[in-house]
Structures are given as C-alpha cells and as structure tokens.
C-alpha cells in the first residue's frame, strides 16, 4: 500500500515536471524515431511531413 502511494506521488511529480513542456496546438511537433514490436523496423514522425496528418495515441496496458 505504501509502495503504491509512493509510486503515485512519483507519477504525479513526473507529470507536473513534463506537462509544462508538452506540445500545444500550433507548436512544431517533437520529432522522434521509434521501432515496432519486433525492434526491426523504425518509423520517424517527420517521414509523414508534407504527406498526411498523424494521430499519436500514447498508452500502456495497465
């Protein structure tokens, strides 16, 4: 229980730290390059620039 509370507080602190720097509407999107589930193929956000919009969906399984 205490461990969960400590983790909750850490998560809230992390969110507070990073949320102020999160991109807002109109900002240039931070570019990134990430790999797929196999770790073999990579995708770069800027590859889609000038081609089509990109919807980014962030999440985990819990």
């Amino acid at each position: 229980m205490l461990k969960a509370i400590r983790a909750r507080n850490q998560t809230k602190a992390w969110q507070k730290l990073h949320d102020v720097h999160a991109p807002k509407a109109g900002d240039v999107a931070h570019d990134f390059e990430l790999h797929d589930l196999d770790g073999k193929n990579s995708v770069r956000l800027s590859d889609f620039r000038g081609k089509k919009p990109v919807a980014l969906i962030f999440g985990s399984y819990t």
């Binding site: 461990k3 969960a4 983790a7 909750r8 998560t11 992390w14 969110q15 990073h18 949320d19 720097h21 999160a22 991109p23 807002k24 509407a25 109109g26 900002d27 240039v28 999107a29 931070h30 990134f32 990430l34 790999h35 797929d36 589930l37 196999d38 770790g39 995708v43 956000l45 800027s46 889609f48 620039r49 000038g50 081609k51 089509k52 919009p53 990109v54 919807a55 980014l56 969906i57 962030f58 999440g59 985990s60 399984y61 819990t62």
Partner: protein, 146 residues
C-alpha cells in the same frame, strides 16, 4: 467514439501511430488492481491489465506492448518507446494522451492528460477540421473553383 472506429474511419487519410509507453499501473508501481478499484475494473470488464510488472528491459517492454496491441485490438500498429522514456517525456504522455500532427508538422490537436483528458471524440473533431481545411486549401488553389 472508440479508437478502433476512429482508425477504421480515417486510416486512409490519417496515419495512426500507437506508442506504447511506461506502464502506468504495474504491480510494482501505482497498482490499481486491488481493493475497490480492482473490483470495479472486474465488474466493468475493463480490458486494462492488472497483472503486469513494469518492464525492466527493452525486450520485456516489447513483449508487454505486443500483449497490449493484441488484447486491446485497436487495429493500430504499435511503436515502442525506449527505456529512457524519451518520447513519453517529450509529449508528457503517461498514462495516456492523444495528439494530432498536421502534414505541416505542427500540432493540430493536443489532448489532455488521461484518463480524464483522453477524449477520442475531440480527436475526431480535430481530424474533421484538419481535413476540411485541406480540402478548402486545395479548392482555393484550383483555378476551376472560382
């Protein structure tokens, strides 16, 4: 409005990318699988997992991401954030967040932090607005539209 239906409706005009980030509520972290909240997850038949530890290696993270992709069935291809949480940090995304990036590379929509700010309906409206702007811009460049 589910993410799956959004994807099915717009995937030919919009590139959808699902980014698996650090687990929000793993067993060894801010776990919500016990007590009344855990009971509520079972009663509501939530598809969120309650039996995952926070992945400690990239391989473990890829495995968890694969399980997430196959069991949540969004139909959207998944990319996996690195163990330094680089992209998660840049987009302040944990636990969940939605964004729409225009073809010009600028943010057309920046959703709120999940779970309460996670609103696929808002994303849909942003997609509609962006696509309408594109059509209008194309029309204004077309000499036959005058």
């Amino acid at each position: 409005m589910s993410l799956r239906s959004l994807f099915e409706q717009y995937h030919d005009k919009v590139q959808f990318i699902s980014i698996y980030i650090r687990e929000a509520h793993p067993i060894d972290g801010w776990w919500l699988g016990g007590g009344l909240f855990g009971l509520a997850l079972k009663v509501t038949k939530s598809r969120a997992a309650t039996d995952l530890y926070d992945p400690k290696t990239m391989e473990e993270r890829r495995q968890a991401a694969g399980r997430c992709e196959s069991e949540l069935e969004y139909g959207i291809p998944t990319l996996v954030d690195d163990m330094d949480d680089t992209v998660n940090s840049a987009y302040a995304a944990m636990p969940t967040r939605l964004y729409l990036v225009g073809a010009d590379g600028r943010m057309a929509y920046a959703g709120g932090l999940g779970p309460f700010g996670f609103k696929p309906q808002e994303l849909m409206l942003a997609i509609e607005a962006l696509l309408s702007e594109s059509v209008a811009a194309a029309g204004s460049l077309d000499p036959s539209v005058a």
